[in-house]
Amino acid sequence: MISDSAVIVAVVVLAVFFGLLFFFFSFYLSKLIMERDKTTELVQFQLSQQMNQNSAKSNEDFTKITKEVIEASIGDSFKIMQKQISEVLNVHKSVVKDSEKTFEKELADLRQNFVDSSNESLTAIKNHVESEGALAKDILSKKVEAEFSKVESELSEYKKAKENVVENEVRAVVNKIAKEVLNKTFSSSEHEKIVIDALEVAKKEGFFGV
């Protein structure tokens, strides 16, 4: 029969053995992993290098092709655009030319209308001014005539009034003298005779309608 201690020793020895084995195995595995990573990186690096090289070339090609395509495309577009622009310009020029002609014609018409209208207005103004002038002259002339006749009339009235004053004064003086001289000397029969003579004069002048 195997003792307990021998078992224990055996277990321990086995444990140590397996422990060491596990250690070495783990060490070896980790070393392998590291190498694999290095190799992978290297491969990846090389691949990437190659890809980069390829890519650069492709890019150059692409660029070249694209450039060619674009250049071709641009050239056509440019030509089309140039043509279209040229056409548009031509149309524009034509429209502008037409517009200019139309504008010039309208301007000429407008100018002519303005000239005609101005002439008519000027003629009308001239006629109006002439008629107003004639009217003003006529009014002025009438006013002057009226003022003149008014002054004449006033002068005539003044003259007549003055003459009346003088005449009245003379008449008063003569009357006074005649009255003093005649009335005192006339009898009623002489007065009567003078009255009858006066009535005879009136009769001769048709005063009584006979």
Partner: protein, 152 residues
Amino acid sequence: MKTPVLYDEILDCVRTTRERWDFISSVDACLQLLHSSKGDFASLVKKTIPKKYAEPLFEAAEKHGIGVDKSEDFGKFLTELRASVSGVPTIYLTLAFEPTESNLERIYVWLKDNVKSRFFIDLTVNSRLVGGCILGYNGVIKDLTLGSRVTP
């Protein structure tokens, strides 16, 4: 206005507008007496109205057979006489002196001979006039004074 001959005889005593007024007043008085009195109308009339109007009045009435006592006929006669005085034209006469009755009569006669229609004289005296007269007739006035002839 032409008045009937009958009235002309009576109206010869009415020369001026003042006399016309007196005459109309007398005729009105007669007409009043005619309606109110019952006695001797003729003597009442002679006492009432001035002699210068009463005499020609009765003479003309008698001459033309109008009885003074017949109040109706005489009333009609007076009324017509009064009406004939209305509407007679006026001669306006302004004298430089106060005329005597004879002066007035001669002037009236002259006018009566020379103015063909019946008229009354509207007499005015203006002592400021120098001889002659101022006449007004049919709306026309004429200065016939000596003053108007000697002054301009």
